[in-house]
Symmetry: C2
């Protein structure tokens, strides 16, 4: 398709993006399409997320971390489904601020995470927009045939777990906007989490083997578990006291007067990119062993019961959950 | 991912987009991912194109036709590769002008073309942007294993053909901007082509069977054939006289004083979404028979020779082709 400054777009593809292409399937980004051989015994799992400047990332965010975050939010979706990523298609809608050095920075971020997560660029499009920059990625992965973990498989009696720590997403945004006052190294850790969250890609096989239902924590722990409860036709109950906190989040939490309000905020904040999952009680030992093997914290938050809806308790009392409120911060 | 007005985004997915989902692989758009079974004997062919308001479509274009054009430019990429489309992922970056009625119109356009081309929505993302609206699609199709037609297969001795008519893309844009004066029905035909070009999906199997190289005409007939010449390491020579014109384009052409300049403009205009292909001379009969069977005009434009570069002739003289000029209008 034509675009405002086409010479730049061709140059961007040939000089910056082509070196990132999958050696075989990406066709050097010279052929409009990517071509994937079929892989018998495996399903192809696809997800697509878009991010917009000043909505999903800040105009002050370095473009290399914007690229990393773009890949990571998509990788997180696949990890929660138990799928192993291998490649992606990318659409760049460059804004006026995206000159050549900014594009180089963006692509450096892509290259860093391609190496980190073992993925390759398969194709895409690059255009110019008069508005704020935005980007979208279609991420592809493999899962053993019929083994993709959905949201609908939770059953009464299952246990509820979450990987890593909760609340760094929302606190990281506040730190990036200088709306927190913590020690500099805590602030830096939170900003780092906001800009480059860590998708649990290595844990995906364990999720595929052991989880009955699973979701990545993007809307907020409670909202995302509510999605699982609804899709599975069950009730999910969690306690907020065990909510796993990072060192930085703990430092923030220790300064709060109202612990219940603080934990509620973290559990509804979103952007954590951890995996919330349910599993049969007899799978707990294997799940913890796999988490240990990956040096990954995993925390039991509650259980699945017959019924419907989502309940979060603090001090034994069920918090008042405005249904609309859970859908997002 | 969080977005400005999340309730609207959830509603948009549940009420407008979910009914378009692939009955099985789209998982009702409720599971972050699409899951595709492998199809032994076939390769998966993927392409991704993005469009931005006031760059690739006009702010005055009705949103149903914007949606149709978005699908069609992607379908055109697959058709030129000989692939049969079956589904797509969609990212909507809604602008402030995209209220509920506009979203309904956009989705009505998607629905119309899903029926027209036998495709389904597989997943995606919907976000809000403070800038102009933009959209991207990742279109998926199947091609028989190893049979995807590339740009690199043209050989000396091959013939060069183009489907349909050339020039309606650039004239259509001018008509949509009221920069042409033709009879109302001609203007309407050109605007219709600009807004809803016809990708040659039905002709894809013939392309897959018969073409040695192929490309869809998006940058302009000459520029796109130059891509083929470069990728194949050959020279392509065409004559401009046989350039196939629609009735409306012919009416415009008949008013020109400088026929050479007029044909050059049409052959470099782009946005035609026809298929330009090369094939062995002995395949010409079969190619014409297939085109007849699909009621599709097909025109022999020239030939492939040893050497390199792209030459367009008029009156037997090779036109001066500024290399930069061919890359885009």
């Amino acid at each position: 398709m034509p675009s405002v400054d086409v010479a730049d777009e061709f140059e961007t593809i040939a000089k910056l993006l082509a070196p990132l292409a999958h050696p075989e399937w990406g066709r050097g980004l010279r052929d409009d399409v990517a071509v994937l051989p079929s892989r018998p015994g495996f399903d192809l799992v696809l997800t697509k997320d878009a991010i917009v400047e000043s909505v999903h990332f800040l105009a002050t965010d370095p473009l290399d971390t914007v690229a990393q975050k773009l890949l990571r939010v998509n990788l997180s979706d696949l990890a929660a489904k138990g799928a192993e990523p291998f490649g992606y298609l990318l659409a760049c809608h460059w804004s006026g601020r995206c000159g050549w050095p900014e594009r180089e920075a963006f692509v450096a971020g892509l290259a860093k995470d391609q190496a980190e997560f073992g993925i390759h660029l398969l194709g895409g499009d690059t255009v110019v927009t008069p508005g704020p920059a935005s980007f979208s990625v279609t991420m592809l992965g493999w899962a053993a045939k019929g083994r993709t973990v959905g949201r609908a498989g939770a059953r009464p009696g299952d246990l509820v777990f979450v990987t890593g720590t909760i609340g760094d997403g929302v606190l990281g945004l506040m730190a990036a906007q200088a709306r927190l006052s913590l020690a500099p190294e805590r602030m830096a850790a939170l900003v780092r989490h906001y800009r480059t969250p860590m998708p649990r890609v290595a844990f995906a096989p364990a999720v595929g083997d052991l989880a009955t239902a699973s979701v990545d924590v993007s809307d907020g722990l409670i909202a995302d578990l509510a999605h699982v409860a609804r899709a599975s036709g069950v009730r999910i109950e969690i306690d907020l006291e065990p909510t796993p906190l990072s060192i930085a989040a703990q430092a923030w939490f220790d300064d709060r007067v109202d612990a219940e309000a603080a934990l509620s905020m973290l559990a509804t904040g979103g952007d954590d990119y951890e995996i919330a999952l349910t599993c049969r009680p007899e799978a707990e030992t294997a799940l913890r062993r796999e988490a240990d093997r990956h040096h990954l914290r995993i925390t039991r938050m509650g259980k699945v019961t017959a019924g419907q809806g989502m309940a979060a308790r603090y001090g034994g009392r069920v918090l008042e959950l405005n249904q609309g409120g859970w859908t997002h911060r």
